[in-house]
Symmetry: C2
Subunit: 142 residues, 2 copies
DNA sequence: AATCTAATGAAAAATCATATCATTAATAGA
DNA sequence: TCTATTAATGATATGATTTTTCATTAGATT
């Protein structure tokens, strides 16, 4: 995907082999990863800690990575398709799905009236059970 | 306010002088505080680090404190009035207001259909300019 | 190829968070 | 009030995480 290269260039950064590995890792992690997890996952692939921190920041900047708080409150990074998506985190297995629907405009208007703020954006995270975990009644996965 | 004491007791904790100081500190901080900020703010009042970490967790548990990510992405804790409120963070000065309006039920239904998840809850943060900072056109405060 | 610029990762340093535990304070019961 | 009980406190130690620094390497440009 050469698109990524262009997006990196746009923010004055190069799309290198290491950065590609970092991105691939997140794409293959449906529950997202904390940074320490990403670091240890790529230790054998010889990608350094510093590179991972920098790449995570860059991927967020170009809208390919967002963060969620999982069921335990841990800050995890999850691959996403666009700068503006609403993640939903499974409270049982931690799997994250992406929701493109966004109908917050009404709420934003109300909010503006209520608080006097000019709304510019938001972060919205949902928590719930994924289809699989909804079926297993009270069994702890992972 | 003796209400707080009851709330602490309900979760098996005591409402002590130190915990009161921590709570007061957050009540007087419209932009919220990171934990290290709270620690240094209370150093002269002789409240220890451990107590602050524990109290922050307790205040969250009883719904008097919520977290936001400020304009710089920093995790800050802000006093709030109820367990379910939607903070809005000023992107200029960082001041946080509380929004009680919650009309996400429609969105939650759509989301359930789109992803197959059973929605149980959410976290919603708005970003925007407060009334004061909306007036000053392009001036960086703080 | 030569030049320039950015990326890399090892190491050190700084920061942040948790665990341990002796001491102190708050509560409940007599 | 006095005592017993239980939880809170905070100093210290420890561990985890994040950032900084910098010599080296790789990628882009001419």
């Amino acid at each position: 995907m050469d698109d990524l290269k262009r997006q990196f260039n746009r923010i004055g950064m190069r799309y290198t082999a290491q950065r590609s590995l970092v991105h691939q890792l997140f794409l293959g992690s449906p529950c997202g990863l904390t940074i320490p997890e990403a670091v240890s996952a790529l230790k054998d692939r010889r990608v350094g800690e510093t590179t991972i921190y920098r790449t995570v920041r860059a991927l967020q900047e170009i809208g390919r990575l967002c963060w969620v708080h999982d069921h335990k409150g841990e800050h995890r990074y999850v691959a996403c398709g666009s700068r503006h998506s609403h993640p939903i985190v499974c409270t049982v297995c931690g799997k994250v799905a992406e929701c493109r629907t966004c109908e917050l405009s009404v709420l934003e208007k109300l909010l503006g009236l209520e608080t006097g703020y000019t709304v510019e954006g938001h972060h919205l995270e949902f928590y719930g059970k994924c289809a699989d975990c909804s079926r297993l009644p009270a069994q702890e996965t992972q």
